[in-house]
Subunit: 146 residues, 2 copies
DNA sequence: TTAATTTAGGACACGTCTATCTTAAATCAA
DNA sequence: TTGATTTAAGATAGACGTGTCCTAAATTAA
């Protein structure tokens, strides 16, 4: 598994907020229902995203969470780093500490290259592009059953 | 973390066997000492690799484990699939079950492409190439300290 | 003011991965 | 045969990610 469950859920929640009701406060309970994610778990993930400056929230009736800035200015990389940390894009594939050009593992060069391809996908993809794709239909954020 | 600890250890052990004493039975204890991996844990990983047909073993004095076939005929993909399963190369990046061309997630197409780059690296790299690289020096399989 | 709604935060259970330990079985050498 | 060496296999413990629950705090509406 490349991304943790928390990160998968956080990405899907952010995409839901960007595509379903951009700019409006949406209760976490509504998001969890729409995506089929347990409410308590998603609430905890939302808290982390708020503390990382990705989401903002208000309490009380008509409260909820929303993206802290325009979907155009939030990349997948922002969310992955906030929830899973930078390890995915920096760690040695063999787990060797200090692996780098000075003390490379046998795969260092090739792995760095492949990893950059993945990282480029995450840093260059913003939420608004995917939100548009969702609004146009044909793609999904939740398990549709069969 | 892309690969599990077990898989990292299994890869390093296989590379050690391919580069240090190809064809000879090497005690797991020697491998664990050379790589700085706990012996009981590496022994369990070795068992799994034996059952998957990657290693073979003999007990008693001068016993140990060795690669079950030529390093030229073992790819990194063989080892990763044996220890971590096929999920890394098949699963949806957002964790959606059934994600495919029929029910794609918003990232399906791009992710499939990026993942194929990584998979190509693993399927095309054989142990003998990396073993040669290790024997020629300049790269390492263990933590050297500083 | 009162009540309903919703996030905030901590405590707690569960499962999996990581890691260790112990005992049994097999092999070789003296 | 005897003893030493080494893998085989299962039991066990700890760490961490996952998931749930409960109470408190804040906001809104009536």
């Amino acid at each position: 598994m490349v991304l943790s469950k928390s990160c998968e859920y956080g990405l899907r929640a952010a995409l839901h907020l960007a595509s379903a009701a951009p700019g409006a406060y949406t209760p976490i309970r509504d998001v969890s229902a729409a995506l089929g994610i347990s409410y308590p778990f998603l609430a905890k993930i939302a808290q982390a995203m708020i503390q990382q400056g990705l989401l903002e929230s208000t309490r009380g009736p008509h409260g909820g969470v929303r993206l802290a800035r325009s979907p155009r200015r939030i990349t997948l990389d922002d969310i992955v780093r906030a929830l899973d940390g930078p390890a995915l894009f920096e760690a040695c594939v063999l787990g060797l500490p200090g692996c780098g050009t000075r003390q490379p593992c046998p795969l260092h060069e090739q792995w760095t290259l492949a990893r950059q391809q993945v990282q480029a996908l995450f840093t260059q993809t913003t939420l608004d592009v995917l939100a548009t794709r969702i609004q146009e239909g044909g793609v999904r954020l939740a398990d549709l059953g069969s």
